[in-house]
């Protein structure tokens, strides 16, 4: 049995706006195991980035974790001080961000940025850290690693910078890698290179990966398991096969129908009607019901609970629940 790397239980995170607190994450729970990529998908504002920041303890000042527990490799890290978190951040969990252009410090050499974490967390000497950094630069497919160490971020293209970020994070051999839209800003051919690289590293290093994206195409390419978020709630969770081939939640279905698929010939792009609710909006019942073609009175009054539709496949929808009772 693979070891559980991350466990998030009943997480509720809220934003303070004008002295009121509005929940952005509404009771989210999920686990990530070693050598597993869990993709979290959803549209902007669904809470996927807030999830990662809650786990990392990097939430902005106006956000609060109201409830819930985050467990990293069996150790509860939620509620810890920044100082204590600094011991696990980087060493046990690392994070890659969306914007490769701005995520590296423009005034420090690649070498400096690669080695500082190693020196701090792994107790390496400068020399050892240097050697490890070069090794990892080569691992992520960067040629002339030694000369790259002396360069500054502005001398590298976007694709290369993202590789540097990956090398920086992976060289510390974290148990958990959090990747927040790491390929969104890259061109498709570069994106594919990076996705393949991430997949390879995950396997060889036995890492658990939490991969955030809005692109369902990317999900299909990289995910073992998929979590679909809508307005702060987990509407569906299952293996990649279950989500893409046997999806149950109307939102998942709508999302997939809206993606223009290059492989299909007679394909009409179908939009989900209505707009995404703002976090300040109060919706009674299922958060998706105003846009759902199947909404019933029950959906308008009662929040659906997740049921295990088949093994490992969870759906939070009254319609699915009712249809499976009969």
């Amino acid at each position: 049995m693979a070891e559980k790397v991350l466990s998030v239980k009943n997480l509720i995170t809220a934003f303070r706006i004008d002295k009121k607190e509005y929940p952005v994450l509404r009771d989210i729970s999920f686990d990530i195991y070693e050598n597993e990529t869990v993709c979290m998908v959803g549209e902007s504002g669904c809470g996927k980035s807030v999830t990662t920041l809650s786990v990392m303890g990097l939430l902005p000042e106006n956000a609060v974790v109201q409830q819930g527990e985050v467990e990293l490799c069996g150790e509860v890290i939620s509620g810890k001080s920044q100082k204590e978190l600094n011991k696990v951040r980087g060493s046990k969990m690392g994070m890659i961000f969306q914007e490769p252009m701005t995520s590296l410090n423009p005034l420090l050499t690649i070498g400096h940025q690669l080695t500082e974490g190693l020196i701090r967390h792994k107790g390496m000497s400068k020399k050892e850290a240097y050697a490890t950094a070069v090794e990892y630069l080569e691992k992520v497919g960067i040629a002339n690693a030694e000369s790259r160490m002396k360069q500054y971020p502005f001398q590298l293209s976007g694709g290369l910078r993202q590789r540097v970020m990956i090398a920086m994070v992976m060289s510390m051999q974290p148990k958990l890698l959090i990747a927040d839209e790491p390929t969104t800003a890259l061109d498709v051919t570069i994106q594919k290179q990076v996705l393949i690289l991430l997949n390879k590293l995950k396997k060889t290093m036995n890492t658990g990966v939490l991969f955030i994206t809005h692109d369902l195409g990317v999900v299909a390419e990289i995910a073992d398991r998929v979590i679909v978020l809508y307005s702060g709630t987990k509407v569906e969770e299952g293996s990649a096969k279950q989500i893409f081939e046997n999806n149950m939640h109307p939102y998942t279905q709508g999302l997939l129908a809206a993606v223009p698929n290059v492989d299909k010939d007679d394909f009409e792009i179908k939009a989900i009607p209505g707009t995404f609710p703002a976090i300040t909006e109060t919706i009674i019942g299922c958060r998706f019901h105003p846009r759902c073609p199947y909404a019933t009175d029950r959906c308008r009054s009662e929040i659906p609970q997740a049921i295990e539709y088949e093994k490992g496949h969870f759906v939070a929808c009254h319609k699915v629940e009712e249809e499976n009772k009969c």
Partner: protein, 526 residues
């Protein structure tokens, strides 16, 4: 055979270089030639730095081209009367004269060549050393003269071709001074007509404002409006008569300026050169500004193009304020109607941008772009920043608007899925050049250019596959446009690279009906 469709935009060897340092240029566009048909959704795809955005901006003349022509057929020169046409008309006689001079020079040279030929003939090639040397010298001389003569002939043709842009085969006529006069009159009449169109628009706006307010428009205004309308008609008619009169002189009194001139085929060819469209590259800034009503742009980030302190209504009304004579009521009413057209509510006239979602902001951007009934709209990654569900909504809206207003889209994106399902024809660009141009269905069914193939392979697909890691990826990154690779720009990353690719730049050639590829693999003369 595909039916012949009227082109709305025609690009000819368009180049755009951005100076980086002295003597160093970033070659953003390199010889782009294409036609965009009226009413089509023309897609452009490529990775960042391929020049797709630059192309969109150059067509709209937001950047001026380094060289090449960008012809707009949505209006003709009779409606716009651009200054450059007037100048060209003035130059007609000069073209004809110069062509004549060049040709005469070339004939003289020909005579000299003939004389030399005879001399060379007379010298035997087995003669003394001196004779051989003399013969070589004479041959050299002869070749030089022959070359000069050929160049002069080319120059003559070039002059005639330039002239034919304005008057077609009439450039060959002996009565050119008379024709020039007629064209000049027609041009002046068009300019006058344009002035009265402006006057008419002003009165019409006044009239419409009254109607919108629910008042009866004053009889005075109505009278002035009618008068202006009649004047426009009068001058337009005059211009037409003048041109018709000039055209009636076709195929008559043709001067034998060059030997080809009497050839009907050549005359037809010159007639074909006759330009009815407007070469945007030659317009003055002012002329371009007034044409911009016809050609609009929708950007990627709608939030960035909206002033946060201005209501949505004000932001749209601004367009009417600048480009029309509409009165206050008329502006407000048109704006509200536009809001409805793009799927917003009339009440949102009073909203501020921050009260709108990303999709709604983009709808405002669209409303602004279509406010003046444009014919051509450049969409630069207009749906790329939106979530999929909203993206689909916006694409549907664009489709509806296109049908309703007969728009032509120039759709720039990096998302191949969107292009496939939204666009009629697709052009693939790489490092400032065109790789492939085809009907969207055909391109995706069977991509020809190796770059198109690898691009398609790299697109993430929403289907689960097991052999993901074995799939091939395009290695490396796009080279710098400051110093692009010699030969085919893609050869450094191409899996099917041949010797020739490293040396010769492939040209865009038609390989099937409506399918164009720039790749040596498909070169028929191989």
């Amino acid at each position: 055979m595909l039916e012949h469709r009227p082109a709305l935009i025609e690009l000819n060897k368009l180049k755009k270089y951005f100076p980086v340092k002295r003597g160093v240029n970033l070659k953003a566009l390199e010889d782009v030639s294409l036609e965009i048909y009226e009413g089509e959704k023309f897609g452009v795809v490529g990775e960042s730095g391929c020049g797709k955005s630059t192309l969109g901006r150059v067509i709209l003349q937001l950047y001026r081209q380094t060289s090449g022509a960008c012809v707009y057929h949505g209006k003709n020169i009779e409606e716009v009367a651009p200054k450059y046409i007037g100048k060209e008309i003035d130059k007609l006689l000069e073209y004809q004269q110069k062509a004549d001079e060049y040709y005469k020079k070339s004939l003289e040279l020909d005579k000299k060549v003939e004389a030399l030929d005879e001399k060379i003939e007379a010298l035997s090639d087995h003669g003394t050393k001196q004779e051989v040397a003399k013969r070589r010298k004479l041959t050299q001389e002869r070749d030089k003269l022959a070359f000069q003569s050929k160049e002069h002939k080319k120059d003559a043709s070039r002059q005639l071709r330039e002239g034919s842009r304005t008057v077609g085969s009439l450039i060959l006529s002996a009565k050119l001074p008379e024709i020039q006069k007629l064209y000049k009159d027609a041009y002046d009449a068009t300019v006058h007509a344009g002035e009265y169109v402006k006057e008419y628009n002003r009165y019409h706006a006044e009239y419409a404002e009254a109607v919108t307010k629910g008042e009866t428009p004053s009889a005075e205004v109505e009278k002035l409006m009618k008068e202006a309308e009649e004047k426009v008609k009068k001058y337009r008619d005059k211009a037409l008569t003048c041109k018709a009169q000039a055209l009636s002189m076709r195929r008559q009194d043709i001067l034998p300026i060059t030997e080809r001139c009497l050839d009907e085929e050549y005359q037809r060819k010159l007639d074909h050169n006759y330009e009815t469209g407007i070469n945007l590259a030659k317009l003055t800034e002012k002329e371009m500004r007034s044409l911009r009503k016809d050609m609009q742009m929708i950007f990627q980030d709608p939030a960035a193009s909206l002033d946060p302190r201005k209501t949505v209504g004000k932001a749209i009304e601004e367009v009417f304020e600048i480009h029309t004579d509409y009165g206050k009521e008329m502006r407000r009413e048109s704006t509200m109607k536009l809001l409805e057209d793009v799927g917003l509510k009339r009440e949102q006239y009073y909203s501020y941008p921050h009260q709108l979602s990303g999709g709604q902001k983009q709808r405002v951007g669209i409303a602004r772009a279509i406010a003046l009934n444009p014919k051509f709209v450049v969409l630069d990654e207009s749906v790329s920043a939106l979530d999929v569900s909203v993206q689909a909504q916006i694409l549907q809206l664009l489709e509806e608007l296109k049908e309703k207003q007969n728009l032509t889209y120039f759709f720039i994106t990096h998302n191949l899925g969107v292009v496939k399902h939204f666009c009629d024809r697709v052009m693939v660009m790489y490092l400032g050049g065109v790789c492939e141009l085809a009907e969207s269905k055909e391109l995706f069914r069977q991509p020809l250019h190796p770059y198109t193939k690898s691009l398609l392979k790299a697109v993430p697909r929403p289907t689960v596959r097991d052999n993901y890691e074995e799939e091939t990826v395009l290695e490396g990154e796009v080279p710098s446009a400051i110093n692009p690779p010699k030969g085919c720009t893609f050869h450094t990353r191409c899996s099917e690279c041949m010797e020739i690719c490293k040396k010769v730049k492939p040209t865009l050639q038609q390989v099937e009906d409506g399918r164009f590829v720039a790749c040596h693999l498909y070169n028929k003369n191989k």
